[in-house]
Symmetry: C2
């Protein structure tokens, strides 16, 4: 069996025997992505959910005026996709790009359904995964509404130390919902 | 067996036989809440997840300066709690208040664990529930970042027709992350 980090990630919440691990592994597709390469392009049908084995990625939306908004980062051991479009097999609202040379494993919708069918305890794993993702987004909404930009920036940097080496100030600014100019004023303070 | 709406909600995603329904019902606690009454107060330990049988509620945070931010509404057939605090049994960051006379059914953490243990297909139900909640919050983050206040207000009103009868402009404004004055300027346009 491959020595994938995804096994450890899954086994934080459920226990798999060797037969289950083998079946799970048979569903995974490994993809290498060069820095700046896209694994999902806005407007395409979003087919997979990805786990980051190595490297880091970001998800962003580009609006009609060409303005880019980064709405998510994903580092090693994180999961990433455009969930709405993955679940409903619709055109993606987000593009997903590698911030550095990266390696992901992907599961498509059929693989995931087969997994739930064959090894129902994966329902538990994804229940906990989505529960945590929901918590994160609920806290993020609370931060947007109740904190100043300066407090949000401080929380962000504390939560993701070292992120400033991998992403641009423009990407951080759009993630925090402010202009890059506003962010640099906050940082100078 | 009681004639609760929660049965229909659960059976959108999983099928229960009569024995399972009875067991599920035995875990539910019905609570009636008068308008403006709280079922969760910020700072208390958050013990339950609630399903709205009747009426409507909102969740809000009050910051150190006494500023209230509404971060969630819940209408009939919706689920609501302070997820982070419920999962980790921590002090709530949110208060939850009835917007009108309401009735909810609540499940505490032990009941939920017992439910997963006894009827594992509830993992599937909550996997789908949290998946959808995550999708909603992900889209909300995207809207915060990429849409103007006017567009966000329009989407909000389209999504929740009739909401303006139940909640104040101040609550809508804080949900959208703007001041009430700014919202009324947007509405006049």
């Amino acid at each position: 069996m491959g020595n994938y980090r995804i096994f450890n990630n899954v086994q934080k919440h459920i226990t798999l025997n060797d037969v289950e691990k083998q079946y799970f592994e048979s569903l995974l597709k490994v993809e290498r992505i060069a820095k700046k390469e896209l694994i999902l392009k806005q407007g395409q049908i979003c087919k997979k959910i990805y786990f980051v084995e190595l490297g880091s990625l970001r998800a962003f939306n580009t609006n009609e005026d060409g303005k880019e908004s980064t709405i998510m980062f994903a580092f090693q051991n994180w999961w990433i996709t455009d969930m709405s479009c993955f679940v409903n097999q619709k055109q993606a609202l987000l593009s997903i790009e590698a911030l550095e040379d990266s390696q992901v494993v992907g599961l498509d919708g059929n693989a995931l359904e087969a997994l739930f069918d064959k090894i129902p305890k994966f329902e538990r794993f994804f229940r906990i995964l989505f529960q945590n993702a929901y918590i994160r987004e609920q806290q993020r909404a609370l931060h947007y509404i109740s904190l100043t930009t300066e407090e949000r920036y401080r929380k962000f940097i504390n939560k993701y130390p070292g992120i400033a080496d991998k992403v641009t100030q423009k990407q951080i600014a759009s993630y925090l919902g402010v202009t890059p100019e506003f962010l640099s004023t906050v940082k100078r303070k």
